[in-house]
């Protein structure tokens, strides 16, 4: 019987107990890792599997938990050998018993980006190798996972390189989160989307502590649950576990009402535990537990259930925004991150991400943007592009369950976008337009919505995950358009039972007081059943309308969210505060708003370059000097630099208005080298360079040498700053410099280098910097500025 049939026909599926505990108890000695016993002691490993099968296990896990090429390094064996032998041992033990063999795969052993530096694609390759090596198993299990991103790489590696069914379990702490902060809801939602057969928990806690975690999971999924808990906690002295087999089984019994179907034991459990579970289950039936949560999208830590209006922030989109377009062209990811954080603090719960711009590689930028935003922001994302290959890229590298924006009624769109939505387990926005454009009538739009839903369902996408957008048209051009949109929305909501979304602000185009029209339209749409307004959350009246609606509709229980949003709202900062201090002292004291105000004031009477040269630069020199002489602390230096930055922005805005000269003194690339993830020092250098008037192209941390060189070539940049904190990453600093020197486009006709490289970092010395071919060694941020002055003027 195969695993899927087993799952369908049996009331419960019994897994085995711990392998590690059996090995430890046997006293078996191994050289490198317990997985090598598959080859050195096959009979012993087979005897453990047999003991579990005799105790009643329907499925045994192969002894291959850590058998990946990272962990097996220096073991003398390949993944193929260890995994092959491990699966074979389990199969030998299972022969003639009807028990199935699961290829057991644990975490790689290195943390993935953004916390660590293992890339998603690298993790995928590790798992792929294991999946292929274990092809003879009956199913694949990923267990003891703490990072949802790693687990996604694992599941994709399984799905793309094997036809075996997949189950997955994660490990949670007492606070209900994994080590990396994954919530049980996010795990359940994401994994169901990726098409696993069952989800659940293993290791870490005893079965007596799992109820809240199991309850949260089952609320958000229709899948059967897996529980493979530890036998309580180990005693630090005796290493004995605290929960005995009978107690273990009775704890599991308490979890059955949550839809638990697959059970076994993790650390500390033995065949006795499995036998006890088996006898506990006699005469019992599986308690099916369909989801009670509405459609949900998520990041690893935050699951957003669409059970009332939720704001999708629209600001990460370059359309019509010059500054944004420039940021994209300059690879200025910080600009995008600032937009993301501002929208979340404004009240957005989901963020739309669109980076389409003719001058850039949209696929690469989508990857960079999604990863960067997810590294700082917990809101789920909506991947927005007109190009299916960009959507595919965004979906692949996204951590959690996103929304795809969008599919429409055109055949080309339906057949290219919906399969991606299915494969990656996303939700999707369905636009009610097709080859013939946007139907004028509500009826026409409703028909397209129906078509999209039926095509989605044919692919196995649930209609709850299709969010229909009935399209907002400009009311000043056609006054009836508003009514048609709202009517279509109402019908989609009530007759199709789909969630709805709508870009709101188009409605007021061409009218005065657009904000008033927008917020009124928003309120009307909410009343007709709008779930997902796509809007600017930083417009207080719009976000306010949604929040108030949630109170008045009884969605926001006890008005709790409303009160917390407005109760202690600080009075709006005075935008045009009158200058009370001069620029010099504002910069020295790190007073941002005052500095900006003083600059505005002074620009009325003074030439911009005079302000820069006679006020800003001297003030910066003074604080730099004060810092060197230990008169101020580092954060004060940074606050001063930020204030100066604020003043520069005012001056830049003034100059671009009056069409004056560009104040940039030249472009400089900054990067923390490949393998290094410490970037705070580099960021301090950036702030200082910024405010001495240099344009910094910040490539971030853990940066590939090739990206640095490509950027220098493409943007014709003459100065590169590299940072490394560890002795181990100085090597990649050297490699980066070598690549810069070896690149023809960065050489003068006489073969000399066009690029000046300056380096810094805690473990660097001047001698070493010279030895690896740098032009300058900079001890601190101040010296970087001095060097830039020397090189670029």
């Amino acid at each position: 019987m195969d695993f899927k049939t087993l799952l369908k026909t049996r009331e419960f599926v019994l897994l085995d107990g711990a392998m590690g505990t059996m090995i430890q108890k046997s006293g078996a000695k191994y050289d490198h890792s317990p997985e090598t016993l598959n080859i050195t002691e096959p009979k012993l490993i087979q005897s453990f599997h047999k003991a579990y099968i005799e105790a009643g296990a329907d499925v045994v896990y192969s002894n291959t938990f850590g058998a990946n090429s990272y962990k097996l390094e220096n073991s003398g064996y390949t993944v193929e050998e260890i995994v092959g032998a491990g699966v074979q041992n389990a199969k030998t033990a299972a022969q003639g018993t009807g028990a199935l063999v699961a290829l057991d795969i644990g975490p790689v052993g290195m943390l993935l980006e953004p916390a660590g530096s293992l890339s998603f694609d690298e993790a995928y390759e590790y798992f792929k190798e294991q999946v292929i090596a274990g092809k003879d198993a009956d199913l694949i299990v990923f267990e003891t996972m703490t990072d949802l991103y790693e687990l996604k790489a694992a599941v994709l590696a399984a799905k793309e390189n094997s036809d075996l069914p997949v189950i997955a379990t994660m490990t949670f702490e007492k606070n209900g989160r994994t080590f990396t902060g994954v919530s049980p809801a996010s795990a359940a939602v994401t994994l169901e989307g990726l098409g696993v057969e069952a989800v659940g928990v293993n290791c870490s806690l005893g079965p007596d502590e799992l109820e809240p975690i199991v309850a949260e999971m089952t609320r958000c999924t229709d899948l059967p649950l897996i529980v493979k808990a530890n036998a309580g906690l180990p005693d630090p002295n005796s290493n004995e576990y605290s929960i005995m087999p009978d107690k273990f089984a009775s704890c599991l019994e308490n979890l059955l009402p949550y839809g638990v179907k697959i059970m076994g034991g993790c650390c500390g459990t033995t065949p006795d535990y499995i036998a006890q579970i088996k006898s506990m289950l006699v005469g019992k039936s599986f308690i099916s537990c369909p989801r009670t949560a509405d459609t949900t999208v998520c990041s690893p830590s935050t699951a957003v259930e669409i059970n009332g209006p939720r704001i999708i922030g629209e600001r990460i989109n370059p359309t019509g925004k010059k500054q944004f377009q420039k940021a994209l062209a300059d690879h200025n990811i910080d600009y995008i991150l600032t937009q993301a954080l501002q929208q979340v603090s404004g009240g957005a719960e989901i963020l739309d991400v669109n980076v389409g711009h003719p001058e850039i590689d949209e696929k690469a930028m989508m990857t960079a943007a999604v990863k960067a935003i997810q590294s700082v922001c917990d809101a789920p994302l909506q991947i927005d592009s007109t190009k299916p290959d960009v959507l595919a890229q965004g979906l692949r590298c996204y951590n959690g369950k996103p929304i795809v924006n969008s599919v429409n009624g055109e055949e080309k769109s339906l057949s290219s976008v919906l399969p991606l939505v299915k494969k990656y387990g996303a939700s999707v926005v369905g636009l009610t337009l097709d080859e013939n454009g946007i139907p004028k009538t509500a009826e026409g739009r409703f028909e397209i919505a129906e078509r999209i839903v039926s095509r989605a369902e044919a692919l196995g996408i649930d209609r709850r995950d299709v969010y229909i957008d009935c399209l907002t048209l400009t009311v000043s051009a056609e006054q009836d358009a508003c009514r048609q949109t709202l009517e279509a929305l109402h019908r989609v909501k009530t007759e199709l039972g789909c969630k709805t979304c709508l870009g709101v602000s188009n409605i007021s185009f061409g009218l005065p007081n657009r904000e008033l029209v927008n917020s009124t339209f928003l309120t009307m749409a909410l009343e007709e059943g709008l779930d997902l307004p796509i809007m600017n959350p930083n417009v207080a009246s719009m976000t306010g309308a949604v929040r108030a609606f949630r109170v008045l509709r009884g969605i926001d229980k006890n008005s709790a969210e409303f009160i917390s949003a407005y109760n202690d709202a600080a009075p709006a900062p005075k935008t045009d505060s009158k200058a009370e201090v001069d620029i010099f002292s504002a910069v020295c004291s790190g007073l941002k708003n005052e500095g900006a105000a003083a600059t505005k004031e002074m620009l009325k009477t003074t030439d911009p370059m005079t302000i820069v040269n006679e006020m800003l630069i001297p003030a910066l020199d003074k604080v730099g000097d004060d810092f060197e002489k230990s008169k101020i602390f580092l954060p004060q230096l940074i606050q001063s630099a930020n204030t100066a930055q604020e003043c520069f922005e005012v001056i830049k805005a003034h100059l671009s208005k009056s069409g004056g000269e560009n104040v940039s003194k030249g472009k400089i690339i900054l990067a923390t080298v490949k393998g290094d993830i410490h970037d705070i020092g580099k960021n301090i250098v950036k702030v200082l360079l910024d405010n001495y008037g240099y344009t910094v192209v910040d490539l971030g941390r853990d940066v590939d040498p090739q990206l640095i060189v490509d950027t220098a070539v493409k943007q014709d940049i003459k100065m590169i700053g590299l940072s490394a904190l560890m002795t181990t990453t100085l090597k990649s600093m050297e490699e980066t410099i070598q690549l810069v020197r070896a690149t023809k486009e960065l050489q003068n006709p006489d073969g000399s280098s066009k690029c000046v490289v300056f380096v810094g970092g805690a473990v660097l010395t001047k001698d070493y910097a010279m030895k690896i071919g740098a032009d300058y060694y900079c001890r601190d941020a101040k010296e970087s500025v001095d060097t830039a002055k020397k090189v670029l003027g």
């Binding site: 975490p107 052993g109 290195m110 943390l111 953004p114 916390a115 660590g116 530096s117 293992l118 003891t144 703490t146 490990t171 007492k174 606070n175 994994t178 080590f179 990396t180 902060g181 290791c203 910080d334 991150l337 600032t338 954080l341 590294s375 700082v376 922001c377 004291s589 790190g590 810092f627 230990s630 008169k631 101020i632 602390f633 580092l634 954060p635 004060q636 230096l637 940074i638 606050q639 930020n642 393998g675 290094d676 993830i677 410490h678 970037d679 705070i680 960021n683 301090i684 702030v687 560890m726 002795t727 181990t728 990453t729 990649s732 805690a762 473990v763 660097l764 010395t765 001890r779 601190d780």
Partner: protein
């Protein structure tokens, strides 16, 4: 899980450039705020394990050998504040770098305090033994590559979510691995400080005529 109540502020100020003036009011408010945030977001955890000496896997290089001279046992340990602190610092860097720098310093202080806590616990377990100070991979000639050995020996990834990347940098960043030697005989106070430190050439404290406390 253990909790931290108070963080050593003068230590944090030293990481922040050690200005010789008292912090002004604005700076004090920032310090208060950041200290509280680190305390509330940290999820400190540690692990340790006894090893019998001599141990060829543990001892690599002459500095660690000298450090453990006369010891019959060693306790290897690791500690972390968890991934959330890294994220907090990362996010804050975007909106307020000055604040991020203060958070970073307090986090460095906090992880040392967690190690102190672990060390106290260890010392209670070995009455009658004398303990060396904590010695970590990267000190002197003790290779940073030893991080991986500590992580594996303590099963730290599985138990407290601590691992290294391919450059042997600990992830989460605010983490420590270290070894403490145990000797039945009194230990001659080892020469700590600049002489055995591999940062001596570039150390900013040393350049200011100060000392980092190692």
């Amino acid at each position: 899980m253990i909790s931290l109540e108070k963080l050593n502020r003068s230590e944090a100020l030293r990481y922040l450039g050690g200005a010789k003036t008292a912090p002004d009011e604005k700076m004090l408010a920032l310090l208060d705020d950041c200290e509280e945030q680190i305390i509330s977001r940290a999820r400190p955890k540690y692990l340790y394990r006894e090893l019998e000496l001599p141990n060829d896997e543990l001892v690599s290089g002459k500095d660690i050998a000298r450090h453990l001279e006369g010891c019959t046992k060693a306790v290897i340990m690791c500690a972390t504040l968890g991934t959330d602190i890294d994220k907090l610092i990362r996010v804050t860097q975007i909106s307020d770098l000055a604040r991020a720098v203060v958070l970073d310093s307090f986090a460095s202080v906090a992880i040392e305090q967690v190690c102190d806590r672990a060390e106290q616990e260890i010392s209670r377990l070995y009455p009658g033994y004398h303990m060396t100070f904590r010695f970590s991979p990267g000190y002197g000639d003790y290779p940073i590559q030893m991080q991986k050995y500590y992580i594996n020996e303590l099963d730290a990834q599985r138990k407290i979510g601590l691992s290294t990347n391919e450059s042997y940098i600990l992830v989460p960043a605010k983490s420590v691995t270290a070894v403490i030697g145990l000797s039945p005989e009194p230990i001659e106070p080892k020469k700590r400080g600049c002489a055995v430190c591999n940062m001596r050439a570039t150390c900013q404290y040393r350049s200011r005529g100060e000392h980092c406390g190692f």
